[in-house]
């Protein structure tokens, strides 16, 4: 079974986000990037499939800072081949552009399954999954929290709001937007990643002509502004706690 996993790096929210001088995008200079958590689950799901049945996993990721680390980590977890999309993505890579670029590469690989995270925190123009499936002309199921292979088909468990779930049989080739892998992304020892860095190779594919049409026109990007009805309580823990007790008493809840 031939599986492709699409991963991308997104802003790490541990750092504070700053808006760039243009006022329409994030300031990328001080931003740290981290693997999109849902893509990490997609990789884990692929590895789980590989562990239960024979599979070959190719991981593809666009070149952002830290891409080598996530690709070597994928190798040490069990991926067979890793591809870096080389290019200057300074002006951000919208989902339409990424999906178009990926579709040519994925068509060449001709996989049975494409797994990617169902969403990412910087998807301004929608998620990559549905867009890519449309360009590839294959079915897409999103919010998938369980995958098993049944002969020529793949059985997925899809989550709906309200606690509803559905089990579907999907013909392959298919693209799945992973919400959660069947078990949390595994830990891999640093020594194993270092080992992968020495022995494994990252294939580089140049993607210079990006068709970014379909991306959103951003008028303004700004940090959440506190509304008038919110009072920010200042002070250290003791002062804040004392003020809170005052307020609860005023509101007659204490």
């Amino acid at each position: 079974m031939n599986i492709v996993v699409i991963e991308k790096l997104v802003p790490d929210l541990v750092e504070e986000l700053e808006i760039s001088d243009t006022g329409t995008s994030l300031d990328m200079e001080w931003l740290r990037l981290i693997i999109n958590e849902f893509d990490d689950h997609a990789l884990e799901q692929a590895i789980l499939i590989k562990e239960s049945s024979d599979a070959h996993i190719t991981v593809i990721s666009p070149q952002f800072e830290g891409v080598d680390d996530i690709l070597f980590t994928a190798i040490s977890k069990g991926a067979d081949r890793v591809i870096k999309l080389a290019g200057d993505f300074e002006n951000d890579l919208n989902s339409h552009a990424l999906a178009r670029t990926l579709s040519n590469i994925v068509k060449e690989i001709n996989p049975d399954l494409v797994l990617t995270g169902v969403q990412a925190n910087n998807d301004l123009d929608g998620s990559v999954g549905p867009l890519l499936s449309e360009y590839l002309g294959i079915p897409y199921v999103g919010y998938v929290a369980g995958v098993s292979i049944e002969n020529e088909n793949v059985k997925v468990r899809k989550e709906y709001p309200g606690g509803l779930g559905a089990e579907m049989l999907v013909t392959m080739p298919a693209l799945l937007g992973i919400q959660a892998a069947e078990s949390p992304p595994r830990y891999v020892a640093i020594s194993k990643i270092r080992q992968a860095m020495k022995t494994a190779e990252i294939v580089e594919m140049d993607v210079s002509d990006l068709d970014t049409s379909g991306g959103p026109p951003v008028n303004r990007m700004y940090l959440p502004e506190s509304g008038e009805r919110a009072t920010m309580i200042e002070g250290d823990e003791e002062q804040v706690a004392a003020r809170l007790i005052e307020i609860f008493k005023e509101l007659d809840v204490l």
Partner: protein, 400 residues
């Protein structure tokens, strides 16, 4: 011999031989199976394979069963076993840590610990805080704490602050108190601030040797950029790492724990201790200061120098001190261990403090204040027990 028996032999054998690479590791061959280690281990009664039994499983060629078991994660690397072994087998570094390494390589670790290790690798601290905020605690401190990058000159002392003293609100108090003491003594010091990474010792003891090496190398490179006479640290784990482990990686600097450093200056400090602290104080020997590095008296002498203090001893002290439960990854195994033990080591220790009649439990390691303070909320009779680092007691006595 069947093929599977041959395979079993090689797992046990290759692991066994790897133990000899640890200093004095070959002593494991001389184990008497006296079970003192398993007996003294605070969580030994909960382990499927406490240290002594691990050794017997190795001798019986059944070590793969030990590697299948998770109970090694109850070990907090407190060195109690190592301390009492009559054959002086280095059980903690030479067996428990190695088993954790094997489990970790197989990806078999509790999720709490996984997060702490992933954070350490990404952010240089196990708390998952931004590395840019590592020196935020110095804001508002007067006189301002010198940052090596800013002052750009040699100093006498490089103060290696550590993760919890930098980020944890409770221990930031200890850090500020230490700055006060250094200023009162006119010490020429500096800190690395954002350039500092976790010392890596607890991560090493939790089985992540590769991560430890990365962190040590990072710190080593930063040390090279600056000139100083010695490193002083308020964290026994950082002290242990820099003194005993970093040199193995070629990173060699003179280092002392604050207790030794201040004890050396006791005659200079005494006249500054103007305020009385009228209390019964019990001193808790941190594992990595006491058992592991043999420092028992300097902290006690510092406490005794404070006017008004009545120093008492708890029933377990010095070499028999009871671990707070934080070391060796224990800080990030709390949930896991609680599920199995339904008791925390820190609560045992607080109970001892209460029995000793102490009003203040004095500590000398950054993991301890939050652990003992939480325990004091749970233990009967401990609601009035105060937990203070020796630094904080000195600072109170000095005043300002």
């Amino acid at each position: 011999m069947t093929t599977s028996a041959l395979e079993e032999l090689s797992i046990t054998e290759s692991f066994y031989e790897s133990l000899f690479e640890v200093e004095e590791g070959e002593r494991i061959r001389t184990c008497l199976q006296c079970a003192t280690c398993s007996g003294v281990c605070p969580f030994g009664y909960l382990m499927e394979y406490p240290p002594g039994k691990m050794i017997s499983m190795m001798r019986a060629n059944l070590f793969d069963k030990v590697l299948d078991s998770e109970s090694v994660w109850m070990c907090i690397s407190c060195y109690a076993c190592t301390e009492v072994c009559p054959k002086k087998i280095p059980l903690t570094p030479g067996l428990m840590t190695r088993v954790k390494e094997e489990l970790l390589l197989a990806g078999n670790i509790p999720s709490e610990l996984q997060s702490a290790l992933e954070f350490s690798q990404r952010y240089g601290n196990p708390l998952g805080e931004s590395p840019k905020k590592r020196a935020d605690w110095i804001r508002g401190v007067t006189p301002p704490i010198p940052l090596m990058k800013e002052i750009a000159r040699p100093v006498d002392i490089l103060w290696f602050v550590g993760d919890y003293p930098s980020y944890h609100p409770r221990i930031q108090q200890t850090s500020r108190a230490f700055a006060n003491i250094l200023n009162a003594l006119d010490i020429d010091f500096g800190i690395l601030g954002r350039e500092e990474s976790s010392d890596g010792d607890s991560q090493r003891l939790a089985g992540e040797k590769g991560l430890f090496e990365i962190l040590a190398e990072k710190n080593g490179k930063v040390f090279e950029n600056y000139q100083f006479n010695e490193i002083v640290t308020t964290d026994p784990h950082a002290y242990n790492a820099i003194k005993n482990e970093y040199p193995k990686l070629g990173i060699s600097y003179p280092v002392r724990h604050y207790s030794e450093f201040l004890f050396e200056r006791l005659e200079q400090i005494k006249p500054l201790l103007v305020n009385e602290v009228n209390a019964k104080v019990a001193y808790h020997d941190p594992c990595y200061l006491g058992r592991v590095n043999g420092i028992y008296d300097p902290p006690r002498e510092l406490i005794k120098a404070i006017p008004g203090i009545d120093l008492v001893e708890m029933s377990h002290n010095r070499e028999t001190s009871l671990c707070c439960g934080g070391g060796g990854g224990g800080m990030w195994l709390d949930g896991y261990q609680w599920e199995r033990a339904h008791v925390r080591l820190s609560e045992w220790r607080v109970r001892e403090a209460v029995s000793s009649g102490a009003e203040i439990l004095a500590v000398a390691c950054p993991y301890e204040p939050p652990r003992f303070e939480d325990a004091a909320k749970m233990v009967q009779g401990a609601s009035t027990l105060n937990i203070k680092d020796v630094i904080e007691l000195l600072a109170v006595s000095i005043g300002e």
